[in-house]
């Protein structure tokens, strides 16, 4: 009886393991199948402009957010006092807790009026919306990049620091000439993962670009994630075939970014 129970437990565990494996695979398979079955291919939406805009926004946001998170983690861990480092970690944890939805709403509510008050023209120009989207996405990327670099610094053996210090290196030299090269690949991996996150983040970007949609801009022509979240404006129905095609492109970006990140650091702690 005990043997049977153990065998059943192991079998169900194996099934669950395969279920975990199949979850992302099945999503990609369903999306690919749906994209191939597109019959209602819209004539008015070109994917060239959204793809280009997505690439630009995601790349800039990843560079800014990933770089800022990495530098912040490095500075707080190596140069800050323990109490200050703890405060910084708490602040980053608070930012991490803000859902993308709320950040997008804040961007619309705060960044756009701020731009107007600084002399921007009404209605908003495209660059203003793009800048707001980049700010939101960079803010989203800072916490995981911070955590990844902090984790990489924790992986550096204490002997390495001790050996450098014994060789006569001061604190700054240990940090800049020993630790920076050791965590550099993690930082690049964090930027690559940040790119995947920025390219796939639809909610926040949509809320920013909805501001433009109020001025009769074609929302779907702006970014891929936006085209999924609201093909013709928030609240309207979306076309599944059209969304699947955009989703397939987005997923391709994501897989390329993850492969690049794995090339830099397979053990990156990206939450």
């Amino acid at each position: 009886m005990t043997g049977l129970a153990e065998r059943l437990t192991i079998t169900s565990g194996r099934l669950c393991a395969w279920l975990v494996v199949c979850a992302p695979v099945s999503v990609v398979a369903v999306i690919a199948y749906a994209a191939m079955q597109v019959r209602d291919r819209p004539a008015d939406i070109s994917y060239v402009a959204p793809i280009a805009m997505t690439l630009v926004i995601a790349a800039v946001a990843a560079a800014v957010g990933g770089g800022l998170g990495g530098v912040l983690a490095f500075a707080s861990a190596e140069f800050g006092q323990p109490r200050l480092a703890r405060v910084v970690r708490m602040c980053v944890a608070c930012v991490r807790s803000v859902p993308p939805l709320v950040l997008g709403w804040l961007a619309w509510l705060i960044i756009m009026p701020t731009a107007y008050s600084l002399g921007a023209k009404t209605p908003p120009q495209m660059w203003e919306l793009v800048a707001a989207a980049i700010v939101v996405l960079a803010t989203l990327i800072v916490p995981p990049a911070f955590g990844a670099v902090l984790h990489a610094l924790d992986r550096v053996p204490a002997e390495t620091r001790a050996a450098a210090a014994a060789s006569g290196a001061n604190r700054a030299q240990v940090a800049l000439q020993v630790l920076v090269p050791l965590v550099e690949r993690t930082l690049w991996a964090a930027i690559a993962m940040g790119f995947a996150r920025a390219a796939g983040e639809a909610t926040a970007v949509t809320l920013v670009f909805v501001a433009g949609a109020f001025y009769q801009w074609p929302l779907a022509g702006v970014a891929l994630g936006t085209s999924l979240a609201g093909a013709h404006g928030a609240g309207d129905l979306i076309s599944l075939g059209q969304a699947a095609a955009a989703g397939l492109v987005l997923t391709s970006f994501g897989f390329i970014a993850v492969i690049v990140a794995n090339r830099f650091d397979r053990r990156i702690a990206w939450a």
């Binding site: 192991i10 565990g13 975990v20 480092a85 970690r89 807790s97 803000v98 619309w108 609240g235 997923t251």
Partner: protein
């Protein structure tokens, strides 16, 4: 089909969200826990390495894409139940990351030490799974569950696309815009209401409540798992 018809109650959709998370979270955690235990016991065969890869590759699949896939599945199967679609979207979106995190937990240096000690003492596989892994890591498992719950509460993109996509397939199907607001998930209502009335004070209250909810869940997770060992040593 518009968004202006949403009532602006501060707690619209709360029960649907709680109901959906209450269904999706146990299912996700049980599947993830069983998968992680099997992988940690090296009894999963070929799936062992693939589970870890699934955690990484799932990061490449944006929630909007997961929502779109769920919409396709729901449209093909004829499902129109809002809670069911939401649960499926949350389950698929959160399962790989939860499983990968649990695998990392069970494969940590401390868990491996406990495992080897128990195996050397002649413990049975079932004892190792239940007493060594689960009892030894119960706080970390609780933290993973709380973080997964936090993610589920605000996983807007997947749910919005899943529901709106099904509505696109079935005219009159469940769309956030054509269901009663109390019956649509909270984050979805927040999304559409933010788009329709960004300056409304009620949106600020909803945003604050969302942030407070996520912050409370993350804080509870940190409280029960404690400070990470490495950081504790550093500080």
């Amino acid at each position: 089909m518009g968004v202006s018809g949403f009532p602006v109650g501060p707690f619209d959709g709360t029960w649907t969200t709680l109901f959906s998370v209450a269904i999706a979270l146990p299912i996700t955690m049980i599947v993830a826990l069983l998968a992680a235990l099997t992988v940690a016991a090296e009894a999963a065969g070929a799936a062992s390495s693939l589970v870890r890869s699934a955690g990484r590759s799932a990061r490449a699949v944006p929630p909007v894409v997961t929502g779109c896939a769920v919409a396709v599945i729901a449209a093909a199967s004829g499902a129109t139940n809002i809670v069911g679609i939401t649960v499926l979207a949350l389950f698929i979106a959160c399962l790989p990351s939860a499983a990968a995190t649990l695998v990392e937990t069970f494969n940590s240096r401390y868990a491996r030490r406990r495992l080897f000690a128990a195996a050397a003492a002649g413990a049975s596989p079932r004892y190792i799974a239940l007493a060594v892994h689960i009892r030894g890591s119960v706080r970390l498992i609780g933290a993973v569950a709380l973080r997964t719950a936090a993610r589920m509460c605000v996983e807007t993109a997947a749910i919005v696309i899943a529901l709106a996509g099904v509505a696109g397939a079935f005219s009159g199907g469940p769309s956030p815009a054509n269901v009663e607001a109390p019956y649509a998930p909270f984050a979805v209502i927040q999304f559409f209401a933010s788009a329709a009335h960004p300056e409304a004070p009620i949106i600020a209250w909803r945003a604050i409540s969302l942030v407070a909810l996520v912050l409370a869940l993350h804080a509870a997770a940190r409280l029960i798992e404690g400070e990470p060992h490495e950081l504790r040593g550093r500080a």
